[in-house]
Amino acid sequence: MFFWMGVSNVPASLTSYDADDAQLMTRLADGDRSALAELVRRHQRSALELAYRTTGDRTLAEDIAQDAFLRVWKSADRYTPTAQFSTWLYRIVVNLCLDVFKKRKPAAGDLPDGSDLRAEDPTVILERGERALAVRRAVAALPERQRIAVVLQRFSGLSIRGIAEATGATESAVESLLVRAHAALRKSLASLGKNSE
């Protein structure tokens, strides 16, 4: 049974950009590999940055983003455009990140120091400045789910409802995660406040 029944099923609430994504998914379900290439081009940056900010590891972020797009390809015939494609993609990326955490179980804040990310190689994720590194460390010190919620809210631009959709949590659970995360960040980033600039 194919749940994906074509472009006519695209909800009117989605923007034209989302509708384009939905059309690309239809083409992909029909076996059009060029649609996968187009989806990758449109969303790889946000998937990479989400995976990188969550794991703190550039190589891992690339592996996760690649894996996420392969999963998109494999499940194209079951995709239902009830939400934005990007939210669905974020959910895949988040689940893959959680899988990684489950396997390697680092201590809070025990993430790569990001030194490789400041290399001059133009093909890597760029991240510059002492303040950026300080913020990165503060975010890395958060528990995994708080970190994911903060990254999705502050950097991926998702609403609390969007974060709930991308993580499978309830909105009240997301609110709770965010409040606790921002309380911790307020303390750890106090020295970087506007007064210290």
Binding site: Q44, L48, L70, I125, R154
Partner: protein
């Protein structure tokens, strides 16, 4: 992004921190935003909480990450192609082995059933000894039936050939 309406924010009381977070992330409707700002004017505790949250919100913005130089397109397409080829190989392999595997399974099944029914005896093992039927009237008949009779039909005790039969009654 859908906006959160005024009624959802319960502005009659001091707002919870998640409402302030919704204000920072731009999720509140314009009316709710205005009402919150008015509340902050009148409530120094809430204003302080808002300013703290806004400070860390702004500092988070300093963590700029740029992955625009990375292009995964070729890698993803190559991996998709490889996965597809692996799947085709698996299907072909399954089809190739289906007939011989089914035939082997049939032979094993038939042999097993044969052994179970007593038609076949595995090498090095004797046939299973069947239970004597209830129709057998006495023990000697039952022993004879299973080949352990003390005397055979020829009158020779079990284990002796007919020409080895002892002379009747002339023992010293």
């Amino acid at each position: 992004m859908s906006f959160v309406s005024l009624s959802e924010t319960s502005l009659m009381r001091c707002p919870r921190n998640d409402v302030i977070l919704r204000l920072l992330s731009g999720e509140l409707e314009p009316d709710a935003r205005r009402e919150l700002q008015d509340h902050f004017e009148a409530c120094s505790a809430c204003r302080s909480a808002y300013e703290d949250l806004q400070a860390s919100w702004d500092v988070l913005g300093d963590w700029q990450v740029d992955a625009s130089a990375i292009d995964l397109t070729e890698r993803v397409l190559a991996n998709a192609g490889a996965a597809e080829r692996r799947q085709v190989q698996r299907i072909r392999l399954a089809a190739y082995w289906t007939v011989p595997l089914r035939a082997a399974a049939l032979i094993v099944l038939a042999t097993g059933l044969g052994i179970g029914a007593g038609h076949f005896v595995p090498a090095g093992k004797s046939a299973a000894i069947p239970e004597p039927s209830a129709a057998l009237e006495d023990m000697s008949e039952a022993l004879e039936w299973i080949g352990l009779a003390s005397e055979s039909a020829t009158g020779v005790p079990f284990g002796l050939e007919p020409d080895e039969a002892p002379e009747g009654g002339d023992t010293p």
